[in-house]
Symmetry: C2
C-alpha cells in the first residue's frame, strides 16, 4: 500500500496567510503518524478532507510553541468527538507535564487513553512492521530528528514456485516478509519462497529543527525521502547559526552525502514570500529537491518486488 506524506504546515515560528506552522502527517495502511502538531493543525486536516484515524501516533520533535500548540485543541476535539481509541504521543519528557497540567486546569477529561512515551537520543522504537529511530539534534533544548523505516523483506517473492507448490494465496505475504507458515501438518519455509538479495523497506527522515550535523547524514542514509528544515537561504547564514537552523544549501549537502532519493524542504522563515532562491541553491547541490507547500501530498508507492 502507498505511503502518503501530507505537509500540513510549512512555515516556521509564525504562520503566514499561505503557510501554517509545522506538522507532517505520514499515512501508512490507515495509520496516521504525525510529526509535530503546531497551532491550527486540526483545521489543516479538515481542509484535506481527512478525519482522525483509529490508529494515531504523534511525535513531537521539541517543545517550541509552533511545534506543539495544536495538541491541546486536538485533545479537546477528540474528546468532543468521543474518541474511544488510545492516542500515542511521543516527545521530550516535559511534554507530559504540559499535557497533564493544562488538561486538568481546563477540565478537559479525555474520552480516550493518552499513552505518553518520552523519547531519548539514539533509540529505536519498534512498531512491528516499521520502526522509528530517534536521535538528538542541534537546536535549543532537547530536540530530535526521526527516521521511520519499514522493516525489509528477505528477498523477491517467488510466486511461480508458490503457485506450483499450491501455497494458498493468503499466506504469500507472510512468507514474503520472512516468516514460516504452518497449514495443517504442512510447513512452508519462507526461505524456499524468497529470492535474495534482501529488499529494504521504505524510509522517510524528518530533520525537525536543527543546525546541520553529521549525525543527520547517518540518520538519512539512503532514505527514500528526506524532509528537512531549510529556514533560511545562505544569504542569512549568520541568522541561521544564531537561531540554530539550516540553510537550503546545508540541507542539500546532507541529502547528497546521505544519498537520499528525494529532498523536500520545509519550515521556511515567515520573511520569505518567494522560495525560488531556496530551490535554486539546493538544486545546485542536489537536483531532486522540492519545496513543500501547505496541503501538498507526496506519495511513496508500494512496489511489488
Amino acid at each position: 500500500m502507498d505511503i502518503d506524506i501530507f505537509f500540513l504546515g510549512t512555515s516556521s515560528g509564525v504562520p503566514t496567510v499561505e503557510r501554517n506552522v509545522p506538522s507532517i502527517l505520514i499515512r501508512r495502511k490507515g495509520e496516521h503518524i504525525y510529526f509535530d502538531f503546531g497551532e491550527g493543525t486540526q483545521r489543516q486536516i479538515f481542509r484535506l478532507g481527512l478525519g482522525f484515524s483509529k490508529k494515531m501516533k504523534i511525535f513531537i520533535s521539541h517543545l517550541h510553541g509552533d511545534h506543539i500548540f495544536g495538541l491541546l485543541p486536538l485533545m479537546q476535539t477528540l474528546t468532543l468527538f468521543k474518541r474511544r481509541y488510545p492516542l500515542e504521543i511521543y516527545g521530550p519528557v516535559k511534554l507530559e507535564s504540559f499535557l497533564k497540567y493544562n488538561m486538568e486546569l481546563l477540565d478537559i477529561e479525555p474520552t480516550f487513553e493518552i499513552v505518553f512515551k518520552p523519547i531519548y537520543h539514539n533509540t529505536i522504537l519498534d512498531f512491528g512492521e516499521y520502526y522509528i529511530k530517534v536521535i538528538r539534534n542541534l537546536h535549543g533544548g532537547l530536540s530530535y530528528s526521526f527516521r521511520i523505516e519499514e522493516k525489509g523483506r528477505p528477498g523477491r517473492f517467488n510466486a511461480d514456485k508458490a503457485t506450483k507448490d499450491g501455497v494458498p494465496k493468503e499466506y504469500w505475504s507472510i512468507l514474503a516478509r520472512g516468516e514460516d507458515v504452518k497449514v495443517g501438518d504442512k510447513i512452508y519455509c519462507s526461505k524456499d519462497y524468497v529470492i535474495p538479495p534482501p529488499i529494504r523497506g521504505r524510509s522517510i527522515v524528518y530533520s525537525g529543527d536543527t543546525m546541520a550535523f553529521d549525525g543527520l547524514i547517518e540518520l538519512a542514509r539512503d532514505a527514500d525521502v528526506l524532509i528537512s528544515e531549510a529556514t533560511f537561504t545562505s544569504e542569512l547564514k549568520d541568522r541561521s547559526i544564531e537561531t540554530m537552523h539550516m540553510t537550503a544549501l546545508e540541507a542539500a549537502k546532507i541529502a547528497r552525502e546521505a544519498g537520499v532519493k528525494i529532498l523536500v524542504l520545509t519550515h521556511f522563515s515567515a520573511r520569505y514570500n518567494d522560495l525560488t532562491n531556496h530551490l535554486i541553491e539546493a538544486r545546485k547541490i542536489f537536483p531532486a529537491t522540492f519545496i513543500a507547500k501547505d496541503l501538498d501530498v507526496l506519495t511513496i508507492p508500494y512496489v511489488t518486488p
Copy 2:
C-alpha cells in the same frame, strides 16, 4: 472615527473548513480590543491584512479551550516580533495560571509586559473614553458576557456659538465631551456650547457562551449591536440546554426585549453547513438579524451630532 468589528472565528468547539473557533476584534481609534482568542486567531488576523496594535486588550469570556488556545501562540509571536508595548489581558482568574505556567515551562520570555486583570461579575472597567461592563452568564464554570460602550456626550456641539465666541478649534472636542477649558485667563464652560439632550456613545454587547437569561437583556439594553452566540436552532433545543448554549430563536428574543439595533449571530455548532434556518427562525422575531461569517467586518460609523 468608525468602530470596526471583525469576526475572526464563528464556529463553536471545533473549527471547520469555513469557520474558525471564536474570536472577535473590535477596532476603535487604532486600539485593538479582542473578545476571546481561539486556536488559529493570529492567522485570521494576518488573513485580514491586519497586524498587532500598540494598544491591545484581550478579554476572555471563559476557559473553554476553543476560546483561549490562540493565546499562547500569540505570546510566542509577539515575542518573536519583539513587541515593546504592554498587552492587557482580562479573564477568569485561572487564566493567569494558564499563561504563567505554560510560558515558564516552554521558555517563552516575553519582550513585553503582560498586564493580567481578573474579571468578576457585575463590574465596570473604565478605560477613559469607553467602559466595559462584565456580568457572569449561564455556562459551565466561570463565564462572562460583556458590554463595551463609549461614554456619552452632554449634547450636540454648538459650533456656531463657538465660532462667534472665537473658541480655538483645538478645544472644541473637549468642550463637546463635557469638559471645561481654560485658555490663558479665559474659561470656556462646556454647558454653554452643548445643546441637550445628551447623546449616548456607541455600544456593543457580546454574549460569550451562555444560555438565555434576563441579565443579558439588561446588559444589551438599547445596544447598537448585540453579538450573540446561537449554537443551535430550536430543533436542537434539548441539546442547547444540555450544553448550556442558546438557540437562534432565544438570541432573537433577547435582541427584541433589549431593543438593540442589530443582532449578529455567531458561535455555530460545527454540525451546520448551512445557516439558513438560524436566520429564518431569528428573523421571525427580530428582522435585523445577520449571520456572521469568518473575516466579516461590521462597521459602526461615527456620526457627528
